[in-house]
């Protein structure tokens, strides 16, 4: 449909991809290098991104040495940075591959782009990692609004536009894991312990649910987790999370807000005994 028919003629240049590959968990890693032709300057055709280059490699799996290899295994979904799947480490920093435009990252002939799998999650294969821990941690904090079932019981609690704006921003978290990859306190667990640091994404989600009228009925449970092992106090305030977040969620605010809540929670608990 929307195909290239621009007035400016597209030109092609070569971009070199260095990709860290792995055949599976515990099978070691190796580097493979690919030269990918990238069109640029053709208005209307849309610029290439890391995903379109990986797709090109899938159709032409040959390294620069001329050796035939397998297509790169990687996770992706929406390709518009709302699903969070294609998170990987690009040129040393974690981000989504879909929004990584080649014209920005490698504007000149022969420029190099390095791709690695996220290091804080177990690798399944190549750039594809297993982020189950993140979803399990959302269970740990009871990340839901405890409604009385799905039958019609009228509207939910009213909400001011200000609260809505705060919650909306937090709700944009797509569980991509950028904040966790960039966090010096979040470390790889090959076997999930259920005690590891939950990281900024999950802390922010705890705040999200605590801010909701009905969601706040589980606030105590969430703050128990948040003030336990792997909770908010494991944060080291490096604040990389907020910098790495592609959705610009105010994660450090969430951490401080949960810090404040746990302070009150524990003091209250100390005196009430509950």
């Amino acid at each position: 449909m929307a195909s290239s028919n621009g007035t400016v003629q597209a030109t092609t240049r070569t971009v070199r991809f260095r990709i860290e590959r792995s055949d599976g968990p515990g099978r070691g890693t190796r580097w493979e290098i690919f030269d990918v032709p990238v069109a640029s300057g053709g208005e209307g055709s849309g610029s290439a991104n890391v995903i379109s280059c990986l797709q090109w490699i899938a159709a032409h799996p040959v390294t620069v040495e001329g050796r035939e290899t397998t297509p790169i295994t990687f996770d992706c979904g929406c390709l518009e940075e709302v699903c969070g799947a294609c998170t990987m480490v690009i040129n040393g920093k974690v981000r989504q591959a879909c929004s990584c435009l080649i014209d920005d990252y490698a504007p000149n002939e022969g420029d190099e782009i390095t791709l690695e799998a996220m290091s804080k999650f177990p690798t399944v294969k190549d750039l594809f990692v297993d982020r189950t821990r993140l979803f399990n941690d959302l269970k740990r904090i009871k990340g839901w609004v405890p409604i009385d079932g799905s039958y019609n019981l009228g509207a939910g609690p009213r909400e001011t536009p200000d609260t809505q704006q705060v919650r909306y921003k937090l709700s944009e978290c797509m569980s991509c894991g950028c904040c966790l990859e960039a966090c010096p306190q979040y470390t790889l667990e090959v076997e999930p312990s259920g005690k590891g640091f939950v990281g900024a994404a999950v802390i922010s989600q705890a705040r999200y649910f605590n801010e909701h009228g009905t969601g706040s009925t589980l606030k105590k449970d969430r703050l128990d987790v948040m003030s336990g092992v792997g909770g908010v106090s494991d944060c080291g305030n490096a604040q990389n999370c907020a910098k790495a977040c592609p959705k610009e969620i105010p994660l450090t605010e969430s951490i401080a807000a949960i810090g404040r809540s746990t302070t009150f929670h524990r003091i209250k608990q100390f005196f009430s005994g509950k």
Binding site: N237, N240, K243, A244
Partner: protein, 282 residues
């Protein structure tokens, strides 16, 4: 969550309390002491300016005066053990455990806050080594670690401190130079550690939630850090460049149990709350 789980270690069961005590201990008593200590020590420089002790090394005299006051406190050893050494051991011990739970990544994420995260841990490691050296040599008298086997003497506080930093009365021995540099690095890191720690503590406890509040508090902490850094450097440089003989002269004048005859003269010229302390010493 609060049920006792046998598989949980002591650290896990009291995770939150320990974390918060760790944070608190850094501010009270350790940070508070650091502020007092650096103010006192920097009197080696500001004592020069205040003109209270004309005709002698005012810095050494003021400093000796302060030291005398501290050494006049009752149960000093107990205060030191419970107010300082144990809290520092607690803060440092847990600090190392916590620091080991992370792995810094400033090489990849070169953000200012991330540098501070890394530096906070580095300053903790080096700072605790420095403190150990500092207390062991000056307080516990481990003279074999001192340049020129100096023994610090609270009655000749400034002059023996100068020796401790230099190894000789005039100029520096090689070891002395190393110790002086170690002091410069050590106190700088500790000051940073405290200022940055106060900043992060405000987030940890939930005092500063919004980005704006964190930024504002950041300026306050930077100001605090700058002030303390000035005091710290003044102290080290002050002692390291001290005129040994003049200091000795001033110390003898103030007296840490010596030269009682001078005290009357002092009492006349000094309108100073610490004066009572000097008397107690006598």
């Amino acid at each position: 969550m609060n049920t006792v789980n046998e598989n949980e270690s002591f650290l896990e069961r009291h995770h939150y309390l320990l974390r918060r005590l760790h944070s608190l201990s850094g501010i009270v008593p350790i940070g508070t002491f650091l502020m007092i200590h650096l103010t006192t020590n920097s009197s080696i420089v500001w004592g020069l300016m205040d003109g209270k002790y004309p005709n002698m090394h005012g810095g050494a005299a003021t400093y000796q005066h302060e030291v005398n006051f501290i050494h006049s406190l009752p149960l000093l050893l107990l205060i030191e053990i419970f107010g300082l050494w144990l809290p520092i051991a607690f803060h440092a011990g847990l600090g190392v455990v916590y620091a080991l739970s992370g792995s810094n990544n400033v090489r990849r994420y070169k953000y200012q806050a991330n540098w501070r995260y890394a530096l906070q841990r580095l300053s903790g490691y080096i700072g605790v080594l420095f403190l150990f050296y500092h207390v062991a040599t000056l307080r516990w008298g481990w003279t074999f670690l001192m340049p020129g086997n100096t023994k610090w003497d609270s009655e000749f506080a400034a002059s023996t401190m100068a020796l401790a930093l230099r190894g000789e009365t005039d100029g520096f021995t090689a070891v002395g130079m190393a110790v002086a540099l170690f002091y410069m690095v050590g106190v700088s890191l500790l000051v940073f550690h405290m200022a940055n720690g106060v900043w992060t503590a405000a987030i940890t406890w939930g005092l500063t939630v919004t980005e704006t509040a964190q930024k504002r508090w950041g300026y306050v902490c930077a100001g605090l850090g700058a002030g303390l850094m000035a005091a710290a450097w003044a102290s080290v440089i002050g002692f390291a460049t001290l005129d040994y003989d003049k200091a000795r002269e001033a110390e003898e004048y103030i007296g840490g149990g010596h030269g009682s005859q001078i005290l009357e003269a002092e009492n006349e010229s000094v309108r100073h709350s610490g004066a009572a302390g000097s008397e107690a010493v006598r």
